[in-house]
Amino acid sequence: MARRQRIFARAAVIAALLLVRSTSADVLPDDRADLFYSKYSGGGMDITGESALVRKKITENWAVEANYFVDKVSGASIDVLSQASVIKDTRKQKTGTIEYLHDKTTYTASYINSVERDYVSNTASFSLSQDMFGDLTTVTLGYAKTNDKVGENNGTAWVPIIDWLGYAQTSSYSGGISQIITKNFIAGVNLQVITDSGYLANPYRSIRYLDSSNPKGYSLASQVYPDTHTSTAVTVQGKYYLPYRAAVTASYRYYTDTWGVVGNTVELDYTHPIKNIWILEGRARYYKQGQATFYSDLFPFADSQNFTARDQNLAALDNYTLGAKATYAFLPDGWKFFKRATVTLDISRIRFNYTDFRNIKYYGVPQYPPGTEPLYYFNATVSQIYVSMFF
């Protein structure tokens, strides 16, 4: 049985919901074209991403943007090990955006379509960004609506048999303020509330419960999630221009939701250009969350409560990231109709630690009865390389 493959589309949709742009509203950004390649390796999974983006001003007031993203997943994560199957799938995402600038207000409308064989998602979003108070303040408001069709592959990775399980709807409300504090310091606050309803569980992940009749000591069962979910996230951030030409960014995010997950994120970033040829960047990030109220690594018996989850996203966990990025301007003075062009290499290393999600790879090992297996952890490497041409 080919098993699971899904959260990935939901996450894509959520990323799409974040389309609220924080651009300054006086002028539209430069025309650009990007070619992007990425690779994620970690936790038994390999994911490659390829993307092309083109952005073009039609007039001084109108701009359009198109983005095509394809990612390919293969491997067998820790969840899959419990269900003996391999993942192999491709997701294709198309995004169209149109922007209109009027005086000090930028209006942005986007449509996103994401398709994989067991998940279809469509998102429409609208946002506006307004400069005010002598252009010291930029206020951004956004709304997005997503409709998802959720399925499960009950065939194999190579011969899929898709059972469609239901639908999910998501609404996102966001607002942000970016404020110039001094000639060297800018600060911002972002708020986003997201509500979901419908089929919200991941059909490829299972709970486990104690079962003495099973040689492993436990059995698996489907997760049961509530059919509504509302989350609130607030980020405060600041960016400071140092006495020499370099910038430091610090941010903090607080997250809470109706499933009982509380998350805290801190991030620090240092950007250092060298002449107009290189921009070097280093960053560190730390994230910690508590578990959802209906999460358990091992339930005492089947149907022990109304809602049950053993999705590692809902477990108590922390992770930390160290990253480095280098951008090289290979056409600093332009060429033909290109004003400039850059190539960027970005590498991040992430360590995930789970404090109540155990490594079921050890099932059946005599010294590890159910519930005493070592806690799960893994390392991931994220690599990106992209070329950006500005014209």
């Binding site: 974040l18 390919k72 997943v73 996103i112 966001s174 000639k183 499933w259 994120t265």
Partner: protein, 73 residues
């Protein structure tokens, strides 16, 4: 009514805001206009990283990033 002073203060602030003079003049914003001071220089890249995190973490939203992303199971 405790609400009245709050409303009065809000109204004063609101109307006085109309006459706020920018304390950082346009000619003093060269550093803020430097590309290294942009919140998000590369939308595809930041969207991709947001996507990876949201695939692994319970938290979502308020990152200020842009769309796009990868698949992360």
């Amino acid at each position: 009514m405790r609400l009245r002073p709050v409303l009065t203060l809000s109204a004063v602030l609101l109307f006085s805001a109309c006459s706020i003079q920018p304390w950082v003049k346009p000619y003093e914003r060269d550093r803020l206009a430097d590309p290294i001071m942009a919140w998000d220089r590369d939308a595809i890249s930041s969207g991709y990283m947001d996507h990876i995190r949201e695939s692994r973490e319970g938290s979502r939203g308020a990152t200020g990033g842009a769309g796009g992303g990868c698949g992360c199971n």
